[in-house]
């Protein structure tokens, strides 16, 4: 894909975030979509492309009253929206549609109108993982981390510092769920969930949604918002079974998606002003820093513990507070994208001064899938 040919011209989250018991999941999609359409100064009838996950494109198109010429129902977990951005950019460049709406919503906390998640007993997961007591992401996602820690000499304190740094960012975000300062000791004394991870190393569970609108860069200048261009993109999938990852020392999906996006963008790591790494659990930023090539894995824990990713640090990371402190409806990738767009527009509550390039890296499932989008505000 060519650089900077497609731009984000509309971006919004649901009117409320957190606990929204008066809205079903599909209405959260609509709330976010209508906010994004207003943000872009468009009418529903201007939308000719639709992408969404969990809910189908036909559900969302029908509910909103959209007649698309392009639809993408890629549903690979929390990074589905990174893949949607990549696919939408390709579709717009190919002339399949002009104006794409990407929606996410999840009634993750209130569970209103949310389809049940289950592992079929005949699937490979159902046969070869479920019988051993896995029960939700906290029992699965952290399984690789003890191996990662042993291989690279990462300490419990270093991983706890991920949550501490992100809470500092969250404190600057009025919409963040958790804003009170925490210490490494607070993290390591919080309630045990799945050793080695404690409550403050696990993502929040909330309700919310978000939507993006993309169009070609040559049209983007006519929109009310400052365009945010798509500079590079990458994606991959590995396995739905965490036990069957090639190695626990890295994520193959991360190692494919991240470098693809950097190569397409034609940038080096030194060019990155702002970074989002989907943090469903506290180890993910360490995998992301290593797998995306920012530094050797051995240095990732110390890098974060030394404060390099906190406000004022040299690599601002998860500046909304992340899934650990901002919000996490279940598929957090959309909120990471929203924060990258805010940073590139220059309107983020914890704005990184003069940021020109933002890398937004997502995960789906338990290291099952990955998508990376690199944004810029300079064409």
């Amino acid at each position: 894909m060519r650089r900077n040919q497609v731009a984000v011209v509309g971006a919004a989250e649901t009117t409320k975030l957190g606990v929204i018991p008066d809205m079903s999941q599909i209405q959260l999609h609509a709330d976010a979509a209508l906010n994004a359409i207003a943000d872009a100064g468009l009418k529903l009838s201007d939308i000719d492309g639709i992408a969404t996950a969990v809910e189908t494109p036909q559900q969302i198109a029908h509910y909103l009253g959209i007649t698309p010429t392009w639809a993408d129902g890629t549903s690979v977990g929390g990074c589905s929206f990174m893949l949607h951005v990549r696919h939408a950019a390709a579709a717009i460049e190919a002339g399949l549609c002009k104006t794409v709406l990407i929606t996410h919503a999840e009634s993750g906390k209130s569970m209103i109108g949310k389809p049940p998640r289950s592992i079929p007993a005949y699937s490979l997961q159902g046969q070869f993982e479920a019988p051993f007591g896995v029960y939700g992401p906290p029992s699965m996602f952290p399984i690789p981390v003890l191996r990662f820690m042993k291989t690279y000499g990462i300490t419990h304190e270093q991983i706890a510092s991920v949550a501490v740094a992100q809470r500092e960012w969250a404190a600057k975000n009025p919409r963040a769920m958790m804003k009170d300062p925490i210490t490494v000791a607070d993290v390591l004394n919080s309630r045990m969930i799945a050793y080695p991870f404690r409550l403050l190393q696990c993502c929040l569970v909330t309700d919310g949604g978000g939507a993006l609108i993309l169009t070609s860069a040559d049209r983007a200048k006519d929109f009310p918002q400052k365009p945010v261009y798509i500079l590079g993109t990458g994606e991959s999938v590995e396995t739905p079974m965490v036990s069957q990852m090639e190695t626990f020392n890295s994520s193959r999906a991360f190692k494919v998606a991240g470098p693809l996006a950097f190569k397409e963008a034609g940038i080096t790591h030194k060019d990155v002003d702002h970074l989002m790494i989907y943090d469903a659990f506290a180890h993910l930023p360490l995998y992301g820093l290593g797998d995306l090539g920012f530094m050797p894995y051995e240095e990732t824990g110390k890098f974060i513990a030394d404060g390099n990713t906190r406000p004022g640090g040299k690599l601002p990371l998860n500046t909304n507070g992340g899934g650990l402190s901002y919000m996490h409806s279940g598929m957090y990738g959309m909120y990471a994208l929203q924060e990258s767009v805010r940073q590139m527009r220059g309107i983020a509550p914890a704005q990184v001064k003069d940021a020109k390039i933002s890398v937004c890296h997502g995960v789906g499932g338990m290291f099952a899938a990955s998508g990376t989008i690199i944004f810029t505000n300079e064409k």
Binding site: A121, F128, P131, G133, V134, Y135, L146, I193, Y195
Partner: protein, 137 residues
């Protein structure tokens, strides 16, 4: 553990040999006749070279502890927390998820790379699960 409510696998034609194996006290793996790749979970072709000429063979049952969590909450039906959910590396190469039995479910007792040996736990007439216990010196 209150085994009655544990999630039960439903075998498919491609995996039936594995569950027949555990019932017979064997941990069965597959090896590609063309490229010698040993793999898991079961499928009737080689995921390394796509050959359909593959053989089922009994594994040694020896493994080492690759990684794990000790799950406290929420607990899966049929499990009493805290319990370890482990991934082991079989002597033949493939990895599998399992539980570690005959061993305290603590970080002190569960040491990465510790040697393990397969043991079998019957759930019902159809399903016997492969679990692992510390190998005796």
């Amino acid at each position: 553990m209150a085994e009655a409510a544990r999630a039960r696998p439903i075998p498919t034609p491609e995996t039936q040999h594995f569950w027949d194996g555990t019932k017979a006290g064997e941990l069965r793996l597959q090896r590609c006749d063309a490229c010698d790749h040993v793999y898991f979970p079961p499928r009737p072709f080689c995921p390394a070279c796509a050959s359909r000429k593959v053989s089922v063979f009994p594994a040694s049952g020896k493994a080492t502890l690759y990684s794990y969590v000790i799950n406290h909450r929420p607990a899966a039906p049929g499990f009493t927390p805290p319990y370890a959910i482990a991934v082991v590396t079989l002597e033949e190469g493939p990895r599998m998820m399992t539980n570690i039995v005959d061993c305290p479910q603590t970080p002190e007792a569960l040491v990465l790379d510790m040697p393990l040996k397969v043991t079998f736990e019957k759930l019902d007439d159809a399903i016997t699960l492969p679990l692992f216990a510390p190998a005796k010196a």
